[in-house]
Amino acid sequence: MEEFKQLNAKVVAIETTDIDTDQIIPAIFLKTTTKVGLGKNLFSHWRYNEDGSPKEDFIINTPEAEGAEILLAGDNFGCGSSREHAPWALMDYGFKAIVSTSFADIFRNNSLKNGLLPVIVDEETHAQLMSLAMEDPNLHLSIDLESQTLNLPDGRKVEFPIDAFSKTCMLEGIDQLGYLQKQLDKIEAFEADYGNRVDTLTPA
């Protein structure tokens, strides 16, 4: 996982709320056994016509979206399935942060484990950002993870929440598996005491 400290990047906005993982990456592309190459099918149903040609009116296909690394989206982003292919596809496309008023639980967890930053803002800020993005196709925002702030073009700084553990992992690019492996002693001790618990899986 790469470190995430600061980001100053172009924003692309999709106003739709409840964008589900079937829109982010349709199931048909989940037959892969690797994590790479999913970006070309990001938002596939919205992005391409039947014949595979790009739909010109979809924001991601417009020249303004080129190089955008921040996605601004409606409430409850990432609802639906647990597929980690969703953050993989967003990152493979080039996104590094998603800004919304809320995220679905599993999507948020999956994103943090891959170094994709979910930025939660209040409704008012969200509405302001949406109209800024509509007015200015070249809108840039900067994010500072250490201070947990999103900097608006008018100079306003908006704080966003992130739990301390995920923040450290993101800042330092630490894979959470490493943390669990360090606890193996404790896990073994827990298991040793587990024999007298009846809720163990009976062997086949």
Binding site: T17, T32, S81, E84, Q181, V198
Partner: protein, 469 residues
């Protein structure tokens, strides 16, 4: 006396291995279910790091998502799917994980086979790289979906890093009327609470209406907890639960059984325990439900009218308009009588033997409308075999339905079973997202009874009309 605790808290407390400062808890996992779509990258991760599956005895794998539902033994024509399935076989062999493979009688949708084999038991923590793991909560287990990184974490350590969620009691009072099913209860809850209403919570379903449901009906409700935004949904274990588990292949036996039941009886929420939130619903008021839009919260009583964008708060208008355009349905109009092309009876929500029995009962003596393709897909090979023993397959086929082999099938449309662009389907599955059942396809979610009634008439139909007739 110790502080009264909820069902969730009892299971949570028992499985926390450790917790440091403000870090998330290390939670022990009793059962890890694995399928072909969300595991390849996890196995590769283990390989890259030189790790093993630490507790293969607590891990079980099956194939369900990308497999075709054509008869067993036929070659898989989709090359990419075939490669994924081969990779699954190799991974399970290399890491010593038990696999219910393509030819196995035990194969089926991962959330159908857990309970069917008695693997799913009260008090357990159960995870799978699949959001509908919430299904297993019907047994009074803490069961939730995880991402592929977490699949790797569980494989390597049998634990997960988790923050303790909040709890929401969903109390369903009263009694269901004829023609109204547990599917209608959960669709009504999501319509009322919204698709994000449960974010950050674990649901516990309580109340008279829930207690009177069978295990399979309870599974339908817990299955769709994730559609309500909650990662897990639970129902306290009771005699109905014990009765269902007893005698299943992995169920405890003899003295172990008695000890298990005694323990399970200690799990239900204590008198006086507090939840963080409460939602109440009366089953007497419910009618069959149907969705009209492109997420499971866009649902209404079947005889209702589709909301018009002007009727909803400003913030929701854009999404509703987009949904109605995609579905090509009109706000302010009813859905009853709308012609449909496909009926899908299947998925981890409604593909168990009791679902098939109820559907067969209703279709017996009727024919599927000429304009409808009706697919019946059992949730597992065991369900299929049982249904065939009871002659349900014949009833379906005589009516003109297509009787398939077990799998996720058209619920996810990555296996060859799918809608054509523009087609309308009534589906007993759990998701009506754009393109979920095939690019450009349109899904109305409903109960098996509503699905069958509509298959007969070729139109969106209120099953209660058929039952009175």
């Amino acid at each position: 006396m110790s502080k009264p605790r909820t069902l969730f808290e009892k299971i949570w407390d028992k499985h926390v291995v450790m917790q440091e400062g403000n870090n998330p808890s290390v939670l022990y996992i009793d059962l890890h279910l694995v399928h072909e779509v969300t595991s390849p990258q996890a196995f590769q991760g283990l390989r890259d790091k030189g790790l093993t599956v630490r507790r293969p005895d607590k891990t079980i794998a099956t194939m369900d998502h990308s497999i075709p539902t054509t008869p067993i033994g036929q070659p898989i024509t989709d090359k990419i799917a075939a490669a994924q399935i081969r990779q699954m076989e190799r991974n399970c062999q290399e890491f010593g994980v038990r696999l219910f493979d393509m030819d196995s009688e035990n194969r089926g949708i991962v959330h159908v086979i857990g309970p069917e084999h008695g693997l799913t038991q009260p008090g357990m923590t159960i995870v799978c790289g699949d959001s509908h793991t919430s299904t297993h909560g019907a047994f009074g287990a803490l069961a939730f979906g995880i991402g592929t990184s977490e699949v790797e974490h569980v494989m390597a350590t049998q634990t997960l890093l988790q923050r303790k969620p909040k709890t929401m009691e969903i109390r369903v009072n009263g009694k269901l009327k004829p023609g109204v099913t547990s599917k209608d209860i959960i669709l009504a809850i999501i319509a009322k609470n919204g698709v994000a209403g449960g974010t950050g919570y674990v649901f516990e379903y309580t109340g008279e209406a829930i207690r009177s449901l069978s295990m399979e009906e309870r599974m339908t409700i817990c299955n769709m907890s994730i559609e309500g935004g909650a990662r897990a949904g639970m129902i306290a274990p009771d005699e109905t639960t014990f009765e269902y588990i007893k005698g299943k292949p992995h169920a405890p036996k003899g003295a172990e059984w008695d000890a298990a039941v005694e323990y399970w009886k200690s799990l239900p929420t204590d008198e006086g325990a507090e939840y963080d939130a409460l939602v109440e619903l009366n089953a007497d008021d419910l009618t069959p439900m149907i969705t009209y839009g492109t997420h499971p919260g866009m649902g209404m009583p079947i005889a209702g009218t589709v909301p018009a964008p002007a009727d909803v708060p400003v913030g929701e208008r854009f999404t509703l308009e987009k949904a109605l355009t995609y579905m090509d349905v009109e706000g302010g109009k009813p859905l009853l009588g709308k012609e449909i092309d496909v009926v899908f009876l299947g998925s981890c929500t409604n593909s168990r033997i009791t679902d098939l029995r109820a559907a067969a009962d209703l279709i017996k003596g009727h024919k599927v409308s000429d304009s409808v393709r009706f697919m019946v897909v059992p949730g597992s090979q065991k369900v299929k075999i049982q249904a065939e023993k009871e002659g349900l397959d014949k009833i379906f086929m005589e009516a003109g339905a297509d009787w398939r082999t077990a799998g996720c099938s058209m619920c996810i449309a990555m296996n060859g079973d799918q809608l054509a662009p523009g087609e309308y389907a009534i589906s007993t599955s759990n998701r009506n997202f754009e393109g979920r059942q095939g690019k450009g396809g349109r899904t109305f979610l409903a109960s098996p009874l509503t699905a069958v009634a509509s298959a007969i008439t070729g139109k969106v139909t209120d099953v209660r009309d058929m039952m009175e007739g």
